[in-house]
Assembly symmetry: C2
Homo-oligomer: 457 residues x 2
Amino acid sequence: MSLENVLDRIDSDLSEATDRLMELLRIPSISTDPAFKAECDRAADWLVADLQTLGVTAEKRPTPGHPMVVGHVDGPGPHLLFYGHYDVQPVDPLELWDRDPFDPAIEETPAGKVIRGRGSSDDKGQLMTFLEACRAWKAVHGALPCKITFFLEGEEESGSPSLVPFMQENAEELTTDIALICDTGLFESAVPAITTQLRGLLGEDFTITGPSRDLHSGMYGGIAMNPIRVLSGILAGLQDETGAVTLPGFYDDVPELADEIRAQWQGLNFDHETYLGDVGLKAPAGEQDRTPLEQIWSRPTCDVNGIWGGYTGDGFKTVLPSEASAKLSFRLVGQQDPDKIRASFRHYLESNLPDGFTVTYRTEKGSPASQMSIADPAFEKARKALSDEWPRPAAYVGCGGSIPIAGYFKDILGVDSMLIGFGKDDDQIHSPNEKYDLQSFHKGTRSWARILAELTK
Amino acid sequence: MSLENVLDRIDSDLSEATDRLMELLRIPSISTDPAFKAECDRAADWLVADLQTLGVTAEKRPTPGHPMVVGHVDGPGPHLLFYGHYDVQPVDPLELWDRDPFDPAIEETPAGKVIRGRGSSDDKGQLMTFLEACRAWKAVHGALPCKITFFLEGEEESGSPSLVPFMQENAEELTTDIALICDTGLFESAVPAITTQLRGLLGEDFTITGPSRDLHSGMYGGIAMNPIRVLSGILAGLQDETGAVTLPGFYDDVPELADEIRAQWQGLNFDHETYLGDVGLKAPAGEQDRTPLEQIWSRPTCDVNGIWGGYTGDGFKTVLPSEASAKLSFRLVGQQDPDKIRASFRHYLESNLPDGFTVTYRTEKGSPASQMSIADPAFEKARKALSDEWPRPAAYVGCGGSIPIAGYFKDILGVDSMLIGFGKDDDQIHSPNEKYDLQSFHKGTRSWARILAELTK
């Protein structure tokens, strides 16, 4: 009956739990913008204080960037590590938000109550599901169920520059029996998921320069090569008419999907028309010979995330600009090597620059894809716990996003990770009007209580 | 001897004339940006006051946009109209200016003294050459040499929306024997020019929209069509590998150059390697089967003047944006019809949008090319006057830029225009660090005195 008591406590404490999350959401901890450095610090302080109320010995640990929050609580085995991140994405374009992104509120929607605000789903709302489960457990039992290390990062949305050095320096302290990572989603509203396949990520941020200064298109149009035209051609050439990426060697280290995984995914009956239709699109754009779910979970991609050049203000300026810039990202799978893909892209880019053009790169980052082993019995225990909470059984799924932390836990600490989260596809993470379903928050908290109970049985 | 006295007066008054120009340059009359509306008004007031010191009955005339400055002074024939514009281009990127664009100064350069500041060449410095010639004439003779109408516009850099309606409403008042337009350049430092061929201009400013909101590239990358990818493909497809514009019908109304004009232009020994080398470029980019001078003066072009979409701030945001935007301009020649070219472009754009994508256009503007007749003897008189002032004889030339005013004078008023100016290719008009050679200002003023003397002989 002890689990039932914890679940009851979670139910009766929901309103207070939501208030606590709101407090954390009000801190604009945008890690990618240096202007918000103090706010990231403030979010870390908030979490340290909150962990201390759970009986956790927690502290803010400095890094060259934003601080880590690390906490420990002793107890019986197994020894778990819980990972989440307290930083959030930038909020632009601000004018598309229906409310201040950092003045969160519960809103009624046709699909139920949601918590609206930046970070509600990615990742403050998610990480608080675990802390609230711990809080309820402590309220009922007077202590947490097992030995737990809390590890909360503040640079996930800006490429985690301090993460690997910090893990290397503190490897012994962070090594546990298994890691729990709460930064992923449900498969669908009624179907929880454990993510076992994550794509890697390679970013490229660059500027090409042609003419040594901005030119008047009346005097130089036609005769002088326009950097925007050059950049457009380079970007347009990255995919062929079937949607495949054209970089030489791009698919060399991409494995074919195992037949049993393909069969399991087909059984999920993924409705790509609804998935796309929900965001106003009609036809899938990627590789035409792959199923949509395969494209999202197990195929590599190349996307332009930003482009700019020339005059972009009101009115007209007949300028032929000196420069044009873009930000690209590649999602990587299988054994694709970020360094090799970067070299292939840069060779393609540079060999398509006209004589006299130059390029400058602003980034050097990349992480390979991760594939979890599910041999540890903890996976099946967690799957049972999730299946008990939600209307339909939990699935092992892939994820199109890149959460390099799971790979680092394996490579640096030798620890397997279970990626369990309660986000939904329509949460609008990284977009205006981000939300987290109140049901995700509530049943997510209950799910962790059930998982803790299973793992400590 | 009376012309000599006027020229002497111009020489001795150069320092004061420069000070007056500096005063006008200090007014940031950027017409394209509504924030500078009051400054445009102030520039118009300044010119009205200055014209009044020349004995001209001048006034600021309201329009729905920025005011016109119109002035009249009576005298013997012929009746001349002088046109210039007091508005200037925006100044961004401001960080590339070596000084405040609106705090002009005389600077020493290896090539001689220059007046540095926004509008020094385009067009305040140029229009003041004519006013200074009039001032010297009046100082020597007590009156201007003939009947002159002054017509100074404040919307040239923002598409002249009020110009045609104003000319139509005031056609009788503005009709003269011939118009003098000072907004063009020398052919080279020693060779003055009368421009008889001007390209037209068509602008397109548009946004394409795909997904109904910004998406996370981890969740939608690959499967959802990216508007930046779509826009890149559309822009890249506007020219083929030879540099020719691919729009159907684009070249239908483009005349071949007359043999005698081609021969004259070949005689000008245009050095395209230096022309491009001066701005850091190596090879001409336009139609490979046309000479560079032909490309600039007599061939139509298509250029992207601005592009933007997605995340363009510091750091990374793995967003798949909902929208992507661009500003294009087409330079038109011969009988190319702006409406027909616009329709052809929009058909091309829309037929290349994926299913479900939409486009919104923010512009409807266009002006056809102009070709002057040089039958009026005033042309040969002006050419003689210019040839007397400068080291080498004046040339009849083409111009890659678009000065639709000459076409309007012909179409609305039935008046031929002589386009005479003293700008240089390296004046960096529309760019940071715009300048006007002090020699252009000085000899330009002297040139107008000589032209007034010839025309009133």
